[in-house]
Amino acid sequence: MKNTTEDKQVKEGRKNLIGLGFVTLIFLIILKMFPEKSSSVMDVSLFYFKEMMLIFPAIVLLMGLFMVWISKDIVLKYMGTTSGLKGIIISIILGALPTGPLYVAFPLALALKNKGASITNIVVFLSAWACIKIPQELVEFQFLGLKFMAVRLALTIIFVTIMGMIVEKLNKIVE
């Protein structure tokens, strides 16, 4: 199992490098075609590169720390069958803390379902996992500003909770 994920990572890394080579080539050709634009293109690229590099090392470090401190077992242990507002808050926090792509969360969600967690909580957990991650919010803060980040976060929490309830209701009706 571990070997296949490593193989996949190596393959993905190679794909990214090939992509980078390809994009660089296009970049150079376009700069040759429009030499008068090259300084503004370079300025923009350098500006965004600097902005990203100011925070990305810190962000991946934070993700690494979450990874070693908040294991899947902890999520499974604390996320239970609590319903109501308390259950929703726990689901948001447990979804927002650990890191990893969404497909890592699906097996966890399944385990939660088997454990007896409500559909509302599972939907809220998955949505929090997908879009209320703390490292993600920090990057949003940096690039789009505090107001944008805070308003979107508040709206997301509200709507995700409503969605959880709707999915639970619809799920029952269809059954």
Partner: protein, 160 residues
């Protein structure tokens, strides 16, 4: 370094220090994982940076605005919502892209809907979600997510 970046770096540094005193080997492990993922991310960061440079440096703002700006209307808005659902970009990199779109004249609602659909909806991961959680659950979650992404974006456009 801007204040936000200073805040983020000190925030993480604090975590790192606490973690270090609680468990040295775990912390070492975390930094290893972080370094690895940073290296893995670097080529993609460079690709995005180059594309942003080309987009902002070459395309006149009017052209961009036609697709996702004031003039684009509902079609442009829906198009970018669908694009966000289908695209499979690491969410950390979605924010610089979003910022560059805003810089180039995109409207706030379009940018908000792009980020929200991008993070919430996964067409690429849909088969796995169906397999594990069931067809009904997966389709409902992704479908309703699309609708609420649009609602969130519209409300944001109204209040920001």
């Amino acid at each position: 370094m801007n204040p936000t970046a200073i805040f983020i770096n000190s925030f993480v540094l604090l975590f790192l220090i606490v973690s270090f005193f609680k468990d040295k080997s775990k912390t070492k492990n975390a930094t290893k994982v972080a370094l690895k993922s940073l290296l893995k991310m670097l080529p993609v960061v460079l690709i995005i940076v180059i594309l942003i440079g080309l987009l902002l440096g070459l395309a006149p703002p009017e052209t961009i605005s036609k697709f996702i700006g004031e003039q684009s209307g509902w079609e442009g808005f829906l198009l970018i919502a669908i694009l966000g659902s289908v695209a499979h970009i690491p969410s950390l990199l979605a924010f610089p892209i979003a910022a560059s779109l805003l810089d180039s004249g995109a409207v706030l609602t379009s940018v908000a809907v792009f980020i929200t659909t991008l993070t919430m909806i996964g067409i690429v991961t849909l088969p796995l979600e169906i397999q594990l959680m069931g067809r009904k659950f997966a389709l409902l979650r992704n479908g309703i997510s699309f609708i609420i992404a649009i609602l969130i974006a519209l409300i944001m456009g109204a209040i920001i």
